[in-house]
């Protein structure tokens, strides 16, 4: 059983992290477009996408059956399924794999829900260490503003409403996301996350991201699938 940092694959793994409203998904989409246009074999792997576990997670969320512990474990199960059957085979095959959220999301969220920091880290230690982990750093007020413009209301678990932090969804969201932000900040030095200032213009962030990614592809010309 290989642990974090033990894996050696010909492919590359780039992941994005950040609180909701940090703009990370937009940036990953732009990176995806660019890599494809450059002719690389690139695959997108979503958080919560494993077919086998999906139904259970959905049911649990819908019926509010999840406690912090089972919320954590069902997501770990889902992630393991993606890791074993999707991400690892792709990396072995030499693909560039892009992930919107990775284990750091789980570390931040689960610890914000009161789980033991060391326990959660060990739980996910089967995960492949990313080639680069981008962290889109943004103040809470900025992300809140962006989210308010984009959609009405927060989802139950997303706002941490299961924790009873506040009756008011907005207030609960703020407190919960604030805790998550603190966890992320701790992980920057701990895991060597590559910080992108997410208050910059979209183009500037993307430019920075591409520079970092290029430097990791230089020795990987064989990853190109088309001229």
């Amino acid at each position: 059983m290989k642990r974090y940092g033990d894996h050696r694959f010909p492919g590359r793994l780039f992941i994005v992290e950040g609180i909701d409203g940090s703009g990370k998904s937009t940036q990953l989409m732009l990176l995806h477009r660019w890599l494809r246009s450059e002719g690389y074999g690139v695959v997108f792997s979503e958080w919560n996408s494993s077919m086998v576990v999906k139904d259970t997670t959905k049911r649990g969320k819908k019926r509010k059956l999840l406690t912090p512990a089972t919320f954590c474990l069902i997501h770990a199960t889902d992630f393991a399924d993606r890791m074993e059957r999707n991400i690892i085979p792709l990396l072995k095959a030499g693909a560039i794999v892009l992930c919107d959220r990775y284990i750091y999301t789980a570390f931040a969220r689960d610890v914000a829900r009161g789980l033991d920091r060391a326990w959660v880290r060990d739980l996910y230690s089967f995960a492949v260490k990313p080639t680069v982990a981008f962290y889109f750093q943004v103040p809470l007020e900025v992300s809140m503003e962006r989210l308010h413009g984009a959609r009405a209301g927060f989802k139950f678990y997303e706002a941490g409403l299961d924790l009873g932090l506040s009756e008011d969804p907005d207030e609960s969201f703020r407190v919960f996301q604030g805790r998550i932000l603190e966890e992320y900040e701790q992980m920057v030095p701990e895991y060597g996350l590559t910080v992108i200032d997410a208050t910059q213009p979209i183009e500037a962030q993307q430019e920075q991201m591409r520079q970092v990614v290029i430097s990791k592809l230089e020795k990987a010309k064989q990853l190109r699938v088309a001229p």
Binding site: V52, L73, I74
Partner: protein, 288 residues
Amino acid sequence: MKESYGVTLPNMRVNDLVGKLIVIEGTDGVGRSTQITLLKDWLEERGHAVLNTGLSRSGLVGKGIKRAKEGHTLGRITLNLFYATDFADRLEHEIVPALRAGFVVLTDRYIYSLMVRAMIRGLDMEWIRNVYSFALKPDAVFYLRIGVDELIPRVVFSRGFDYWESGMDIHSTEDMYESFRRYQSALLEQFDKLAEEYKFKVIDANPEPRKIFEKLRAGIARVVEGEPAKSAQIAEGTVPFNPESRPAEAEAPKEKAETPLVAKPRGESSSTPVPPAEPAAVPVRDGD
């Protein structure tokens, strides 16, 4: 007083769990459920409220696991974590509330079965131990022990070989008998290791069910009612675990059990995150 093997889950108070947690462990087909049915009746007759629970029965995950296993599609880490989720759900929603209400909780297998399955699929022992370190330490674990040669006729003549109980997901052979034999031998070997480490009360599962029941009853009476044990009952009821005392028949498949499919758990040193179990809370005879 209850405690966990390591981490405490959020919102889980353990200081007011007055009930007793009793685990019946053993491999597939050893007769656990028969015993649990008998024990439940017996305990209820004696005035104890009993919750009877087992693996993959949780409201949250039970169905999902069943479906996934039908398709034989899960990776080994995934399957193990699915079981862990199921276990956490049962712990929080069944076991802990029942213990708080003063029930005797009889559980048909516990984390040890899950650990053993993960071990023989090559997962790290340290990792497995950490995953399950949120589990409560039981008041007692009774391990129904049987050799693979005694086990085979029981399984074949009652319900036939099952895909998962035969470890067909890890053995490439198409022969169910051969696969069952290898898989169950490997399970028994790992169970023996845990029996020592977690101080299981080992009960020979070869005799007829009634005899086994008598032994279980004696052991459980002491846990639940703290009855002063009559010395004859002790000697008969709970055998201190001794790897040398295994039934001779169990030695036969040893070669096969040592195929590379059986992972050598690394680092079984004292540096593991979860301390080994305390001896189960069967009162030591103090000069009665």
